[in-house]
Amino acid sequence: MKKKSRRRLFLAVLPVFALLAASLVIFPQTGAAKDQQLSGTLTMFHAGSLSVPLAAMEKAFESKYPGVDLQREAAGSQKCARKISDLGKPCDIMASADYKVIDKLLIPKYADWNVRFATNQLVLCYTDKSAYADTVNADNWHEILQKKDVVWGHSDPNLDPCGYRSLMVIQLAEKKLNKPGLYKQLIANRPKENIRPKSVELISLLQTGNMDYAWEYLSVAVQHGLKYIVLPDEINLGNYKYDDVYKNAFVEVTGKKPGTKMIIRGKSCTYGVTLIKNAPNRAAAIAFLEYMLDPEGGLRILKDMGQPPFVPCRVPTPEMKKALPAELQKLVEVKN
């Protein structure tokens, strides 16, 4: 029975193959030929906040290229970079929630270029079981976060860009609301225990009722169906037109060795992606990036999931555009 059906399948597929073979002879460089060649595993390290859209992209990509198995590892963006630079883990593509991480830790030794492809913004998430869930709004959130019976948290600023950005938002709010000392008062009501390595981890704390409020990216809030408070553009780090305002906020994070510090200044949330130089599966990686940076492909998925993409994606200099694989050059513009 099984054999029979297999043979039937074979007979059915045969003409397709014959056609393909014929087309190969006639047009040796067609896309169809390329699709056939791509195979093997494709490794991608990416920021936790990209997990959901990338899962959707993975599905679409793998149905287009059945031979390729995309294996994704989500972690804080810094950790992703460390896995490549320090542990020497083989990796094809790395996508960071802060494109600067790629500039800082991977270029020039492990990567040549850095494409900015999407933005995000910070929101304050909660659930309907959170304390004061029925009264909280965009005007009184800072009062509620100061209440003693409210547990709120953010991710570790030393490990996760979402962590220092959460702190920057509060600093910017202090300036905008003209309430000196607000930042200090809020942080005083946030014991160290409420800090987690990754912002996505805070969600399970919200959902299990261990925490009332957590700072998250808008995309994460949308994807997890959380309630959230949207803040004005001047403080939400989502609009690059306000970069001049954002840069007034700064957070001290750990430097290159314990005990040292470095200062990170506010900047709009901008995602970056790069191809690792000695990528084990370069051909498949380029094919994936081609899909991911396509306005009708990956960028559309990002848009649907609360991470507004740059259409087209951006690189800072013409030199960097030239360093891109030819297939990707048409998908980016030079814009700082």
């Binding site: 804080g76 810094q78 950790k79 460390r82 630079s85 320090d86 542990l87 079981k129 570790d156 030393n158 490990l159 014991p191 160290k192 225990e193 409420n194 800090i195 987690r196 390595p197 981890e201 399970s204 704390l205 959902q207 299990t208 009722g209 261990n210 925490m211 750990t254 290159k256 060795k257 314990p258 005990g259």
Partner: protein
């Protein structure tokens, strides 16, 4: 053997002595290693207090559903570690009546020493119970029966006959349980990132600073654990020679 030793030796010899000295001067490192040691110790103590009677019952009695009880005890060994953490958090949250209750008692599980001890006890308990159970099983029940027939109560039989014969297996059980507890990472990092136990700190150092600065902490943790367990072993061996 080489499979176990090679990576460990490689890691132990990687950091320089100056790095090691610098690391142990770091107050955060000392605090986290100490926290690791004493939470693991507490977990072993809890396992000793609550696990011993259970192990005894399991070793001495046959009852319906015993296999089921034994399987339940082994569950923490097979469950992936992060799942343990998530499970504990979901019970400890305000959305669960247990969490509500302990919250009113003023106990916090998330991000607290209490939470760490709960997790470590959860993962270490099976090791204690299984070790001690086989310890009890190796003692002939006839000895206890003789004692009972001579008029000793159940309690005094346990403390005068069974305990002196089984205490070594209890000690091994405690060591096993503490060893398992001190090495736990996956479940703890979900329940408590701060305060940091040593494995969490190793992970944090690795992420924030890279391999170079996480290795010395790892070396110190391994070194201190090894010394502690070696001392315990020597103590028990020493006694065996005397008897």
């Amino acid at each position: 053997m080489a499979f176990i030793l090679l990576p460990l030796i490689e890691m132990m010899t990687a950091p320089s002595f100056t790095m090691l000295r610098e690391t142990i001067k770091d107050k955060d490192v000392v605090r986290s290693i100490w926290l690791s040691v004493y939470t693991a110790g507490l977990a072993a103590l809890i396992a000793f207090v609550f696990g011993t009677p259970l192990a005894y019952v399991l070793a001495r009695n046959d009852f319906r559903g015993k296999k089921l009880v034994e399987s339940i005890i082994d569950l923490p060994i097979v469950i992936p570690h992060p799942v343990v953490g998530i499970a504990i958090l979901s019970v400890a949250g305000k959305n669960h009546w247990i969490g509500e209750l302990i919250g009113q008692l003023g106990i916090r599980i998330m991000g607290s020493v209490a939470g760490i001890v709960v997790v470590l006890t959860f993962v270490g308990m099976p090791f204690y119970i299984n070790t001690v159970k086989s310890g009890f099983e190796s003692i002939s029940p006839r000895l206890e029966k003789v004692s009972r027939s001579l008029g000793a109560s159940m309690f005094s039989t346990f403390f005068r006959i069974t305990f002196p014969l089984a205490w070594r297996s209890m000690l091994v059980g405690i060591v096993m349980c503490a060893a398992r507890a001190i090495s736990e990472f996956g479940a703890v990092v979900i329940v408590a990132y701060h305060p940091m136990i040593a494995p969490v700190m190793i992970y944090e150092r690795f992420e924030a600073y890279g391999l170079k600065y996480s290795q010395p902490v790892a070396v110190w943790l391994v070194f201190i654990c090894l010394t502690l367990f070696l001392v315990l072993r020597i103590l028990t061996l020493h006694d065996r020679e005397k008897t």
